[in-house]
Subunit: 250 residues, 2 copies
């Protein structure tokens, strides 16, 4: 039986958002590899070995998974959301490029999932319904100056924006600076959506105008969406609807 | 029995990429509304009425769906991909905003799906593994000058890029101009992925350097991905792997 590697997206949390393709890959796996809380979402069964590892060990984890696949195991690397969006797929391919040549001949498949910004957008309405960008606000892997440059250009382009990893205990100040940049350029009323742990029991959604957005409204489980200049709020009983129209005028 | 409206993403084509949440909503629906080829993906059954309509009738379709939901029907509006990405969710909310006040009190849910760019990225490797943007290249709903402005700013920000609706018979020239803008700014080797009808029997994936990209490589069923300056190609037997590393240097 030949081995292989699937890099699978578990979606934002609810099993109803896991694709049948991913469910089938997990059912056939001999080994599941990933960050502890994501591996915890996979049900144990006979014949399946779960390999949970800590955060910030992505390259070691990727090499471990590739080595097992090369030895004939059927390995699934799990990410939350979509594996190709600020998740494990790039780490695995970095390991392939740096690794032994025979890793390139492995059967490696990426199985897409529902990424956090699209789960969050769905809950809020359709804030990403026109051109948009996705920026990882963590400066673990890039200089903060680049984050801020991208933010300013995205504002100038009038993209709606999704921010991943807006804030952690180790980097509390970056998101505060991002909010300052936004406030200088976007006007007080620009809608901001704080979407935490969407589709899990801890889900919390908050929609505020930019002037009321505060750094402490975000944590590592939050994705932040910022509207474009055209994004609308529909008031109603209960949570408002936030959407960006399909059209932009001349 | 009270009515409601779900705006559901069918993913890129393969049933294995439809979430269980969407499958459940379709199983409970009394009415399915959408563009002809998307409604054709829903299996007929007793008690379910299929309402297929032509393209470019999004607002009429949305109002029709909202009216049925207000009358107590359980309506699902179907989009391909994700309904919040260049699809029906914004059209429905535009209709809500313009419609009678009681439409705001309807139970309206957006059910996310696998959007075309993420299905395409998964097939190619992980080209969207770092900061990226999504631009609809159609100028049906916005001026071409705005498309080109966003393109130039996205290049300056060094985003990886996904282009939806790159080219149609009615607008053959826009994508050619977009390629000219890219060639002026990005260098000959920048990887371009043409991903057509991913996960369907007509799937075709082509990876070329920018200098070899031609307008006629895209049509309305193609999503085009363009790497950032850091996007890598891993050569191997068979299709190359295209990925963008997680890190950007100082």
């Amino acid at each position: 039986m030949s081995g292989g590697l699937a890099i699978a997206g578990l979606g934002p949390g609810d099993d109803a958002l896991v694709t049948p393709e991913v469910t089938a890959a997990l059912a056939e796996a001999t080994d599941v590899v990933g960050y502890i809380p994501y591996v915890a979402r996979v049900a144990p069964r006979e014949g399946l070995t779960l390999h949970a590892s800590d955060n910030r060990e992505e390259l070691d984890r990727a090499a471990h998974a590739l080595g097992m696949a090369a030895a004939g195991r059927r390995v699934v690397v799990v990410s939350s959301g979509d594996p190709g969006v600020f998740a494990m797929a790039s780490a695995v391919f970095e390991a392939v490029e740096a690794g032994p040549p025979h890793w390139r001949d492995l059967d490696i498949r990426v199985l897409p999932g529902i990424t956090a910004m699209l789960a969050a957008a769905a809950r809020a309405g359709a804030p990403l319904g026109h051109d948009f960008c996705a920026i990882n606000l963590s400066d673990n892997l890039k200089p903060w100056a680049l984050v801020e440059k991208r933010l300013r250009l995205a504002i100038e382009a009038d993209f709606a924006m999704a921010f991943y990893n807006p804030r952690s205990k180790a980097r509390p100040e970056g998101f505060a600076r991002a909010l300052d940049v936004l406030r200088d350029a976007c006007g007080d009323a620009r809608p901001v959506v704080f979407a935490r742990a969407v589709s899990t029991p801890e889900e919390a959604l908050r929609v505020v105008p930019l002037t009321e957005a505060r750094p402490e409204m975000a944590d590592m489980r939050t994705v932040v969406l910022v509207g474009s200049s055209l994004t609308q709020i529909i008031a109603r009983n209960g949570a408002p609807i936030v959407y960006t129209p399909r059209s932009a005028p001349e």
